[in-house]
């Protein structure tokens, strides 16, 4: 029943969308997969190229163990099976940015098989997406066709960098599930430190296979959308592709198995090459490399280096801090944010941990995130220190300032290096909780508005807010709002 929510309605009936993803994640490693060349992003073209990377005669690949460890760690991260023996194959094709004329990859025997990722879409129950495999392969160089009208330029800095290709089963049923899968996988990779997940720089690229079928029928013919480099574009490309395939199928036509490219400017996918032009990659085991053997000891040693992963952290946040599923999910999506969140909680002095944690979550998700978006800052670039945010939360909890005043203090924290306590003192923002002071102001306000008091007593209860507003205005917003409410109710 659940899946029916995702069905697409056409003129002739409903269609089920079937999506499987291949994610290419660049391995976090100082050196390339088979050469000692550096992997720094943004270096001058062709400055990080060894003789091997350039496909010079007689050069031989030697596996970089760090890259293998990272692949193992990633496999463990999605509960995959690490194969003790895997084999590097050559994938043969000619292109100017592929110097050797083949890419070293793993075809028949990948290093990781099986595994899964749990995704959440719009508060629906968790859905488990099975992962088919993860294999290690070399990246190609970069062809640049738009610098010169007649020439193409080749940059081999990327040639030979290590990629993990993570292939899912075709178990996603909507673009929303597909984007949730990529977000979750990206989060996992960043937690593990095995890929920086930077999609703009091409560290994470997605190939999407998508087809439509009538519910209960075998899989339809799929199209593959290649090299999508943003999660937003992935959603748009899949939306377009569903519409395109639906039109074809509803008209009684047949979808052609082909590779398509997404054009973000026009918002459409275009045919890149059909099946008849499909490469025959002539995979065979690379005779320059022995089978890759990883021992159980090595796998277990890597397992011990794993940090808490998003799902576990989310559960802990809910149990330890009493956070809602939504808040916990938002806070754990990025490890840096989750870490920052816990730093703030630990610095807070409030006795009620859950109260502080909940307040801190609200503040991060609303005020801090909004300010970060506005200023285009990342969490580690905030202009104030984490313990100052903790102090602000303490000031709210102990009643020194109201939540409203806290927003003013927060704004000042962006522009000065002062602590919230100092700011409150400097600006005289302490909350007034002296009942005699509040009572005096209330008496004055009521005395000045006898007609409104009469109206209120006659049943116009919505005027209560009007009186609160006047009291706050007189007290410059510093009155303890709880006390104002209580006393006002009594007086009226």
């Amino acid at each position: 029943m659940l899946e029916n929510e995702n069905l697409v309605q056409g003129r002739t009936g409903k269609w089920e969308v079937v999506i499987g993803l291949e994610v290419h994640a660049q391995v976090n490693s100082k050196a390339k997969l088979f050469s000692g060349s550096s992997t720094d992003f943004g270096s001058d073209p062709n400055t990080q190229v060894s003789f091997l990377d350039a496909g010079m005669p007689g050069m031989l690949p030697v596996i970089n163990k760090v890259c293998v460890d990272q692949a193992i760690k990633t496999g463990l991260g999605f509960h995959g099976h690490i194969n003790e023996i895997s084999i590097f194959d050559r994938k043969n094709y000619f292109y100017a940015d592929l110097p050797a004329g083949y890419q070293i990859s793993q075809f028949h025997y990948p290093i990781v098989t099986g595994g899964y990722i749990d995704i959440e879409v719009d508060g629906k129950p968790t859905k488990r997406i099975a992962i088919t495999r993860l294999h290690i392969e070399q990246d190609a160089g970069k062809s640049i066709h738009d610098l010169h009208p007649e020439f193409s330029y080749i940059d081999l800095n990327r040639a030979g960098m290590a990629l993990m290709e993570i292939v899912s089963e075709p178990e996603m049923r909507s673009p929303a599930e597909a984007t949730a899968y990529v977000k979750k996988l990206r989060s996992l990779l960043r937690y593990l430190g095995t890929c920086d997940g930077n999609m703009e720089q091409g560290s994470l690229r997605v190939d999407a296979n998508i087809s439509l079928r009538r519910l209960g029928e075998p899989l339809g013919t799929r199209a593959e959308i290649k090299n999508v480099n943003s999660i937003r574009f992935l959603g748009q490309a899949l939306d377009y592709e569903i519409y395109r395939q639906l039109e074809i199928l509803e008209d009684g036509g047949a979808v052609i198995q082909e590779t398509r490219l997404f054009d973000p400017v026009k918002g459409e996918t275009r045919s890149m090459r059909g099946k008849e032009n499909a490469h025959d990659y002539r995979y065979f085991p690379d005779p320059d490399l022995k089978p890759l053997v990883v021992t159980q000891e090595r796998i277990e040693a890597i397992r011990t280096t794993m940090t808490e992963l998003p799902d576990a952290k989310r559960n802990r946040f809910q149990v330890d801090y009493g956070l809602s599923d939504y808040d916990a999910t938002v806070l754990v999506a990025e490890k840096e944010i989750a870490d920052y969140y816990e730093t703030v909680i630990k610095a807070a002095k409030s006795q009620d941990v859950k109260q502080a944690a909940k307040l801190c979550a609200n503040w991060l998700i609303s005020e801090v995130f909004a300010a970060m978006n506005r200023e285009s800052l990342l969490i580690h670039q905030l202009p104030f220190q984490a313990h100052h945010l903790a102090e602000l939360i303490d000031l709210i909890i102990d009643g020194t300032i109201s939540g409203k005043i806290a927003k003013d203090v927060f704004a000042k924290m962006w522009t000065t290096a002062k602590s919230p306590t100092e700011l409150v003192a400097d600006l005289g923002l302490q909350q007034i909780s002296d009942t005699s002071v509040i009572e005096a102001v209330i008496d004055q306000v009521l005395a000045e508005n006898p007609d409104k008091v009469t109206d209120y007593k006659a049943g116009k209860v919505q005027l209560f807010g009007f009186f609160v507003g006047l009291v706050m205005k007189v007290m410059k917003g510093k009155a303890n709002p709880g006390l104002v409410n209580d006393i006002l109710k009594n007086k009226l």
Binding site: F51, A54, G55, M56, P57, G58, M59, L60, P61, V62, I63, R90, N92, F94, Y95, A96, P99, A100, G101, Y102, S152, I154, D280, R282, Y283, F284, P287, D288, L289, K290
Partner: protein, 488 residues
């Protein structure tokens, strides 16, 4: 002074220590002879200046008593070993102007031991051939002459034909070679030399232009078994830059060399005798007699997979080659024929700069790896390869070494080359199984045919049995006294 080019490595090395002559004298003697014998076309690139420079440095080291194992000894280097700053063509128009910015591990080992490089020797294009007639730089000619037809130009064998002709014609004291299916042993047999193909992984392949990576092995071509031991000792060794290289210390083959084969069990495989002609049978019988007289024991054995080795080889080697040679695309360092599009450039470059035999093997290799044919050809061939290796394993449970002829016959004329490729491929029928199993084997000159042309015997051993093979080869060498047949 005696003709210095007649010396063996070991003789010359001793003489240099005794200061009978200098390394420069020795190098000059070879350089002079190289000028006189250019008609044999054994060198693609001669490097006289570098050679003399190296010889001078050798003399300095020798005078300080710091000479290496090969100090001052003039060598030829097969033109598929990349040599830093020296053109390396692999016998192809494709690399006609390629000057590597790096030194292969094997040639670096030789340089570190004091070797002097006279030049880069001719070879079949990308090591694909058995007669050195596929070289873009023209065929190398053997110095040997048929008694029946002295005018006939004979092939030196291949693919290391230039190296074999160079050593045989005394244009190098020894030379490097490489063996993918017989390319060291067959030219050794054709030119009356010793050639050893070591266990796969004994010598680093780093910096060798690849033909078929799982089969390629470097090895030496020399006048004597002792010279082969000395060269191999220097060439071999673990190299972290080659993932298929064997770890472990290289034994001191030369120091440990002896002719003791008492009790050695020598297998004679019936599959290697069946189609042997009379002169081949007679030669093998001589080998059997010599080894028996020296105390070895002969055993008849069977290697049932032998007939499958050659067809299997001609699936696997071209498959690997088709991929290994993909990098020669005209885009970076290789020769280029410009085209309108990238595909056009590829097609024109590769059609123009690869020779016929290379193109044939790339096509075969591409075919056997293609979708729909992979299982029937490549995968099946891989399985047969395992059976061949298992067959040898089983044989070495019973015997220590195998004795076989190296080739079906002696050298043929350059103009007598077979018109069909298959007949040419049959030259390697006794040598190919060894590569399939990654085993070591040595060819040692054992006699001549009725035309006075050299014939070789091959000894095959289990992995890392090089010392055993060199020792057994010494017995044959001493008994055969091959020097008596030399024509030069």
């Amino acid at each position: 002074m005696t003709d210095l080019t007649r010396l063996t490595l070991t003789e010359a090395r001793k003489a240099l220590d005794k200061k009978d002559f200098s390394a420069v004298d020795l190098t000059n003697a070879f350089l002079k002879r190289m000028e006189d014998k250019r008609d044999l076309n054994v060198y693609i690139t001669e490097t006289p200046e570098q050679a003399l420079q190296q010889a001078k440095l050798s003399d300095q080291r020798l005078s300080k008593g710091q000479g290496g194992l090969l100090e001052g000894l003039p060598l030829g280097i097969k033109d598929l070993f990349c040599t830093k700053g020296i053109r390396t063509t692999s016998g192809s128009k494709m690399l006609e102007n390629f000057v590597p910015p790096y030194e292969s591990t094997v040639s670096a080992n030789l340089l570190n031991a004091g070797g002097v490089f006279l030049g880069k020797t001719n070879m079949d294009e990308f090591a694909m051939g058995s007669a050195n007639i596929t070289s873009f730089f023209g065929p190398s000619i053997s110095p040997w002459k048929s008694k029946k037809d002295p005018q006939k130009k004979l092939v030196p064998g291949g693919s290391s034909g230039g190296s074999a002709a160079a050593v045989s014609a005394r244009l190098a004291m020894a030379a490097t070679a490489s063996d993918t299916g017989g390319s060291i042993r067959q030219p050794a047999a054709f030119c009356g030399l010793v050639g050893i193909k070591p266990t796969y992984g004994l010598c680093s392949r780093w910096g060798m232009v690849a033909f078929a990576s799982s089969l390629d092995q470097a090895g030496p071509l020399t006048h004597t078994v002792a010279d082969a031991a000395l060269m191999l000792q220097v060439m071999a060794g673990y190299d972290e830059k080659d993932a298929t290289c064997l770890s472990g210390e290289v034994p001191a083959y030369f120091d440990k060399l002896n002719a003791n084969v008492k009790g050695l069990k020598v297998g004679i495989a019936q599959e290697y005798i069946e189609n042997l002609n009379e002169e081949g049978q007679a030669l093998l019988q001589k080998g059997i007699d010599w080894l028996t007289q020296a105390g070895a024991v002969m055993c008849d054995i069977s290697l049932k997979t032998t007939p499958y080795a050659l067809p299997t080889y001609y699936v696997l080697a071209p498959a690997e080659a088709s991929s290994n040679l993909a990098r020669f695309d005209g885009v970076r360092y290789s020769s280029r024929v410009d085209g309108k599009t990238l595909d056009d450039l590829y097609e024109k470059t590769r059609r123009t700069c690869f020779g016929e035999e290379v193109r044939r093997r790339i096509l075969m290799g591409t075919y056997v790896l293609s979708a729909g044919y992979y299982d029937a050809y490549y995968l099946k061939a891989q399985k047969v390869r395992q059976l061949i290796a298992a067959d040898f394993d089983q044989a070495f449970q019973k015997v220590d070494v195998l004795l076989t002829p190296t080739t079906p016959g002696a050298a043929f004329g350059v103009d007598e080359r077979p018109s069909d490729p298959i007949t040419m491929y049959l030259n390697d029928i006794y040598t190919v199984p060894v590569n399939m199993a990654g085993l070591p084997a040595i060819s040692v000159p054992a006699g001549v045919n009725d035309e006075g042309l050299p014939l070789g015997l091959q000894l095959i051993g289990p992995a890392l049995s090089e010392q055993l093979l060199l020792n057994a080869a010494t017995v044959i060498e001493q008994a055969a006294n091959f020097r008596q047949y030399r024509q030069l």
